[in-house]
Amino acid sequence: MTSTSEPDTLSLTPSRRKFLAWSGAIGAAGMVGLPGCTLQYSDPADAPLGGAEEGERIVWNACLVNCGSRCPVRMAVRDGRVIRIEPDNTGDDDLGNQQIRACVRGRSIRQRMYSPERLKKPLKRVGKRGEGKWEEISWDEATTIVADKIKELISKYGNESIYHNYGTGVIGAAVARSWPPGNTAVARLMNCVGGFLNHYNDYSAGNIEAAVDFHYGAWMGNNSNDDTVNSKLVVMFGNNPHETRMSGGGEMFVTQKAKQLSGHKVIVVDPRFSDTAMNLADEWVAIRPGTDLAFVAGMAHVMISEGLHDQEFLDKYCSGFDEEHLPENAPPGSSYRSYIEGKGEDGIEKTPEWAAKITGVPANDIRRLAREIAMTKPCNINQGWGIQRHSNGESQARAPMLLSNLIGQVGIPGGGNGEREGANPLPLVLFPTLENPVRPTISFYMWTKAITDGKGMTYRDGVRDSLDTNSNSNVVNDVVLGSNIKMIWNYGSNALINQHGDINHTIELLSDESKVEMIVVIDNQMTVSARYADIVLPDAMASGETIDLAWQSAATAGNLGYLIFCDKAHEPLYDSKPVYEMLTEIADKLGVREKFTEGRTQEDWVRWMLDETRKKIPDLPSFEELRAKGIYRQNVGPYISMAKFREDPVANPLETPSGKIEIYSSNLARMRDDWNYDQGSQWIDPLPVYRQTRELPGDALQLRYPLQCIGHHYKQRTHSSYGNSPWLKEAHPQLVWINKIDADARGIATNDQVRVFNDRGATELPAFVTERIAPGVVSVPQGAWYAPSASDGVDKGGCVNVLTSQQLNAYSKGNGQHSALVQVEKV
């Protein structure tokens, strides 16, 4: 046996070294052109079984998490168990008919279905909240407890004391979806008994959602990415489809294919050398987080002083660029041009040198890029949403919009309006969720505040009217929140703890059981949030254990629209139930069963939705046909945002007060002195101007916490979904990214265990020492599951939200989670 034990010892030698050791000999790497592969898009042997082996059947399903893409996963089922995933076998590599191959996450979906952390029985908390002590109870007992509490709270505090938290653990499924909150089965149930407290906007895009209404009147979406085949230049601000929307049918494919077809140049502006920067970009601008506004201001200075901006466009379509085009009530010197030229309030000229100091981008690069962007048209300026998840996020979101305005690229093919990619939607009829009569609506990020201070909150605190939640309609309103939050529905959501800022604060708040009296978590895994529930209701997997429809919502696959049939691979495991069925039982106990179901099962609803949608899309297959076929595809064509406005701005005005693009927002000017916000460190500015708000470069706090900490979206997970898959943790381990310069100064090497900390908390995880992040910046990829150590309470899961802030931004009342200063030290 010595022959086997000896090599065992040798196996400790890191085999990885051989990659270096063996690469000694000389080779000749020809930098050849890249011919397209003659790929097969399906196996000839696929038909008619679709890839099934003997004794198997293949059922179509979809991966239902919130990346913004939506992938089919075809499940090979044998003996009542999914034994393998097969990819999409329809389509090819044409834009608009691309094969929708699932990414690494969807490919590991079996590890979600059969995870040891699957919730098996309804649970009732028996210890303290969050302590992890549970009693298994029957469905009858669980649904009775929940129904009784709803009745009690409605009579004591009113319907607005019951909050439906943000959650995207089940998204894109017609019946089972957990988002948007107003359109879930939970919403339908609550609407049967008088409604619930809803929220507006979301963790992904809460600042741009608030700001774009003031800038463009409403959410417009950018040109779809397939339209960049018409662009000569694409400038991406923090947009990272190669890691966020990395479906083979999604924006990763679309952006790369559009570049191959057109040969356009791509510039990526990002603190991190993302995989989009790595693979798509011709140039990477390594910017400090939260300073994109200053970068745009520096470029605007070059454009204005050299006459490169599109004056004609600004005159005709915009309000507030220069003094001649300000609204009547705006004070002199309040135009954007005055701000740039140093003739505004602060008297500072926004030269490239000024911008270089803030952004870390050299002044000469700012000059060169300004000229290139102004002179290379059509030019698509777009953004991902990382740039707006900052303490100055509302204005940050407007920076790329402003840049596209300066060069007049709005509303034309190959151009773009500076938002994130949009798309033409399919006209689907989805699960109807009735009307919510409760009018006060809070921002997605305000719920922790509304637990303690909700009663009496007004529009000045960010309470909007559910009748119209557009920012412009809520500059002033007459709704007042009548109650603190007393109950939380947390369906398919890890935002109760893991994804909300400042975890330690939330835990403290929720530990007082007199405040929130009941937390109901519906999920299929024992997530971090589920640990803090009072009642846990085990959900069936919407992928594989129910019948549903999944669709390609807007903005995620270029010009490809589609609908996927989600079939049942087997019955719900253990004692789990589909959300629709468990809520039917609660509806029964609330006396609204008939109103909730209208006599339909989930399958009946799916049939109804298909029948209704077929009235709008005549060639959509029937229930049986779609079930057999798996997917319906339609090329919905490119989306050119704001094309009608561009064509005729008088006939097609925007929903802003002036009907124009408001570079100077008169509504924001009204709010400046009226709204409640921290006037010592926050600003409401009519113009998108750079302000050094909380925890941005230059903050005095940098003396103690010198590094900017962001949390990029990571390939291992979609937010926190899939965060417990062993295959994914192995493929993409949780590591804190740190530049070699900063690591060397702290004696840190790759894979050293380090502590990342600030006054809000600490997390420990291994380091990834890399060139791929700007000096002075670290990134703890967001979404890793919070795992506090029993001994010292320090998180060992690498969860960034122990470091982030709950502070509400000035007027979005949204999240500035990427504005977090930290220190890093070797453990």
Partner: protein, 208 residues
């Protein structure tokens, strides 16, 4: 004899984003546990940062990924060093291991410059990419090839792929291809560096 003289993988490095759908699709198809990874994706990075007097930074950073399984080499060093003849080159040019003969000595794993042979803790024998032989014989693509979201992977007859796409596989962090004559054709990333002449480093040693 199989349908192919010698199977080979084609990899378009310029399309790869390092997502590792190939790696996980392989694990899903073959039910492989953590630690047993038949297809791996090394990340190779380089470049420098310079901080200017005003605090502004300049750089020349680059990165690329390589999706890598067994290359079913023409000179398979794993076969050469195998003391039990378990490792062998068979039908369609596929290099595979006979678990009945394997004594789990791991010499093949130590010898292979691509880390292709992977130890199976359950059976105490070696395991490796078998080119999805069961699928190939039925006219199907290997699981990794069918999975790649960017369509960066393909496979075919080695001679045909080389005639069409050239014969490049000597790219960092891989060894020069004369070492084992791998049946792998790479369409290089624009920043790809020749084996032995790299100025970068293997960035993810623990992931492969």
């Amino acid at each position: 004899m199989g349908a192919y003289k010698q199977l080979a993988f084609l990899f378009d490095q310029s399309k790869c984003t390092g997502c590792k759908a190939c790696q996980v699709a392989c694990k899903d198809k073959h039910d492989l546990p953590v630690g047993q990874t038949w297809r791996r994706v090394p990340e190779y990075s380089g470049g420098q940062w310079r901080i200017g007097v005003d605090g502004a930074v300049t750089h020349d950073i680059w990165t690329y990924y390589t999706s890598l399984s067994c290359n079913h080499c023409d000179d398979p060093i794993c076969v050469e060093v195998c003391p039990s003849t378990a490792m062998h080159k068979g039908e369609n040019g596929i290099v595979s291991v006979d678990p009945a003969l394997c004594i789990g000595c791991k010499y093949c794993a130590m010898a292979c410059p691509y880390d292709a042979p992977q130890f199976d803790e359950a059976t105490r024998t070696m395991s490796k990419c078998d080119f999805c032989a069961d699928r190939i014989t039925k006219g199907k693509r290997p699981a990794c090839v069918a999975a790649c979201p960017m369509c960066a992977l393909d496979f075919g007859e080695a001679e045909e792929l080389r005639a069409k796409y050239g014969d490049e596989a000597s790219l960092e962090p891989l060894p020069e291809q004369s070492v084992t004559r791998p049946n792998l054709v790479i369409l290089p990333h624009p920043k790809a560096q020749p084996s032995g002449h790299g100025t970068g480093h293997l960035a993810n040693p623990t992931e492969i």
